[in-house]
Subunit: 205 residues, 2 copies
DNA sequence: GTCTATATCGGGATAGAC
DNA sequence: GTCTATCCCGATATAGAC
């Protein structure tokens, strides 16, 4: 792996582990066994590293959020949620200090807010598909509130879980996150689908 | 107001506005029109200011979380939620950088996790009261998942809302937060209570 | 209690040799 | 591309006069 790429790799690792504000460029260089000068040869400052990491995160997310316009099963939705969480977990440093990072990096803030909108649409598409297949029943307002709640949970579960379990290895319980979100959707599912989800949940937990 | 008290007041204001990591002791002193030396006469370091603010937050929260063992109405619950949010909003700096602050201040972390447990119990008490009054019906597992989701939303709504609306005056939409949480509980309410909540919601939004 | 002045430290970033 | 040395600055904290 080339040095420029290694910088990203190691930065991501340290950011995720200790939080971006708590990681210095010197630490990154140390961990890589290169000099700080060398690091600054590849990236002119810390911001550029973060921007590049964010760009990759964004690409991966947008890829996932491109929900195909077909019938979506409960299993599909569950997998979809899981993939979203895995992606977020790979870049969990963003979510550990979300407000702070968006406050300090205005460009990322704008981009992130666009992503939130896309997330909302993606969730709406999934739930809409459930509705069309007659698997789910909810009023307009119920649907909107549900969407918002799901997006909130997707966004905040990783950070919340870290606090909740208080472990120090920064392992996020993704499966539990999926479960919690599905539990929000469940009451709106029709009887048979609800039972089906119940089965899946039991296997998962 | 005595200087020692003013330090807390102004610190809280600035922390809430800009985020604790982004506020220096010099800024606090400037804003108060006192010298940094004077500030350090009253508090030997920044940590002590934060600890004192946290203690007050904790006191106010524990006060609220002491849910009386009586029948709780939908209106009571709504008010309860609102008071919780108002308290959180007063100390929103904690929630803007929750993971980071708990990471840097180990003592606060331990205390905060205890508070989370109390929060969970309080929510369980409210929902339990609904159940006892035959206003709500949910299985054991549904109840547990619902509790966890409510606690998550209470914890994360303030930070999430700030990102979502992207305003810069840091005004959190508390009412909307209550509404969203109630929307999670609604599907488990019996028909008449659900309609009642629906009415309240419409008035609120 | 309050001020001014200053010490100290750490992190971000650059210069210039190799 | 990589290193060493160093600069710069901002933030925390202290010393000592008033």
């Amino acid at each position: 792996m080339k040095t420029k790429e290694r910088v990203l790799f190691v930065s991501l690792k340290l950011f995720n582990r200790f939080g971006e504000p708590n990681v210095t460029t010197l630490q990154i260089a140390d961990e890589m066994n290169i000099s700080p000068g060398n690091l600054y040869y590849h990236y002119k400052n810390k911001t550029e590293i973060i921007n590049e990491l964010y760009s990759r995160f964004e690409t991966e997310m947008f890829d996932l959020l491109d929900v195909p316009d077909i019938d979506i099963s409960i299993e599909d939705a569950w997998l979809f949620l899981h993939l979203l969480f895995e992606c977020i977990a790979r870049y969990q440093f963003l979510y550990k200090d979300l407000v702070n990072i968006l406050h300090r990096y205005d460009k990322i803030k704008a981009r992130y807010r666009r992503m939130l909108t896309r997330k909302q649409s993606a969730i709406a598409a999934v739930l809409g598909s459930f509705e069309q297949q007659d698997m789910l029943q909810a009023s307009q307002t119920e649907m909107e509130a549900l969407c918002e709640n799901v997006v909130l949970s997707i966004t905040c579960w990783p950070g919340y879980d870290l606090i909740r379990q208080g472990r120090d290895d920064d392992q996020i319980e993704l499966a539990k996150g999926c479960y919690q979100i599905m539990a929000m959707v469940a009451p709106f599912l029709k009887e048979s689908e609800r039972a089906h989800l119940q089965q899946l949940s039991e296997a998962y937990v």
